[in-house]
Subunit: 218 residues, 2 copies
Amino acid sequence: MQTFTEENYLKTIYKLSEDAESVTTNQLAAVLHTKAASVTDMLKKLSEKKLIDYIPYYGVTLTETGKRIAVDVVRRHRLWEYFLVEKLNFKWDEVHEMAEELEHISSVELVDRLDQFMGHPAYDPHGDPIPDKHGRIKQHEFKPISQLSVDECGVISGVREHSPAFLQYLEKLNLMLGNQIRVIEVLVYDQSVVLTVNQSENKISISKEAAKNILVTS
Amino acid sequence: MQTFTEENYLKTIYKLSEDAESVTTNQLAAVLHTKAASVTDMLKKLSEKKLIDYIPYYGVTLTETGKRIAVDVVRRHRLWEYFLVEKLNFKWDEVHEMAEELEHISSVELVDRLDQFMGHPAYDPHGDPIPDKHGRIKQHEFKPISQLSVDECGVISGVREHSPAFLQYLEKLNLMLGNQIRVIEVLVYDQSVVLTVNQSENKISISKEAAKNILVTS
DNA sequence: TAAATTATTTAGATTAGTCTAAAACTTAAG
DNA sequence: CTTAAGTTTTAGACTAATCTAAATAATTTA
Ligand SMILES: [Mn+2]
Ligand SMILES: [Mn+2]
Ligand SMILES: [Mn+2]
Ligand SMILES: [Mn+2]
């Protein structure tokens, strides 16, 4: 059994591991809004419990056990987000903080029933895959809009940035999950992208940064 | 903002206050599965925060602020229990422990939406009233079966004991909420009660203790 | 009403998680 | 290869919640 805090560390190590081989103390301190010294203490503890492999000064990776726990936390987080949006009608920019609390509710049976109640959803409101009860994850082949060429189309299927501000911005531009976009032009000087949504004539322009953070499938 | 632990103390003081004017240190220690010394420490802290009126050696009562917080915790507990039974199809003896965790999820908006999603239920799966968002509580005029005379009828509307064992026992005898019972006989030597359920010819017998813990309305 | 019993509080420790400041280590530059 | 800069760990302290044992207050009993 893990504490609330241990689960948050494991989840964060898991997410940071997607970008890099191993995760550093400072990275964790930044994401978890804590100090490097506190992180070191926790890493020792998680290492004692065999949930991570920790080499002082060199970083940390999850053990199989640690990874399984992390994936379960992610599963709960995403299932609750789906619930909040689909059943309680919250908007996609409103659910993250609530899910940060709900993900630590421990009952396995509760999560399974919730999953069943909602018909075993495969993706959360931000397009992130929901691991199944065995920890298996279905991986999309996502591509950021920034990698599309002119005239290429794609269906918006995920986001790389989850801040309410960014999500609200997307909503305002009608860049919501499931909508089809077509790249009209990529400006040379700043790589901003001009595109249309759902065959509309209305052209919208988004920055290179935004284009990197919107994921499409073809 | 209160911690998980503070909320549990306030809720317990609130519940124990229904039976007695003021609540003692040992009562709290027993219900919260902790030691009297720990209770004293927490009472000092809650008193500092003006959530309780605490007279050392003489006991404790809730302030208006403390009571409001306690009622909100109770509201969340009962709403989640209702959700678990009505939406996720748990049985009434399975939901208490999960609700003990869920009741501490802090979002007010979440609870209000949940309430709305379920159509503002008035009673939880055990017949206990669910306070509304303003802290108002609709009070039944309940009566234990032990107070009925021979031939009197009543509709089962609540229970005074919430242990899974007791709830499962009631289920086995078909003594569920909403069912009508009629008292056939009260045995003189041990005050056990013989009764019928929903006009059935089948007579069942329950102990005096059980009869005290089943509440009916007429 | 004095003694015995019971209830409650105080004293002093412990554990989880956190912090600041200082020391130790790694890496990058010159 | 040595120094400077940046990163990480260690040392020591703090808070919240808990505990055991001892002291004290309240209540019951004789
Ligand atoms: Mn989220
Ligand atoms: Mn999400
Ligand atoms: Mn309950
Ligand atoms: Mn209940």
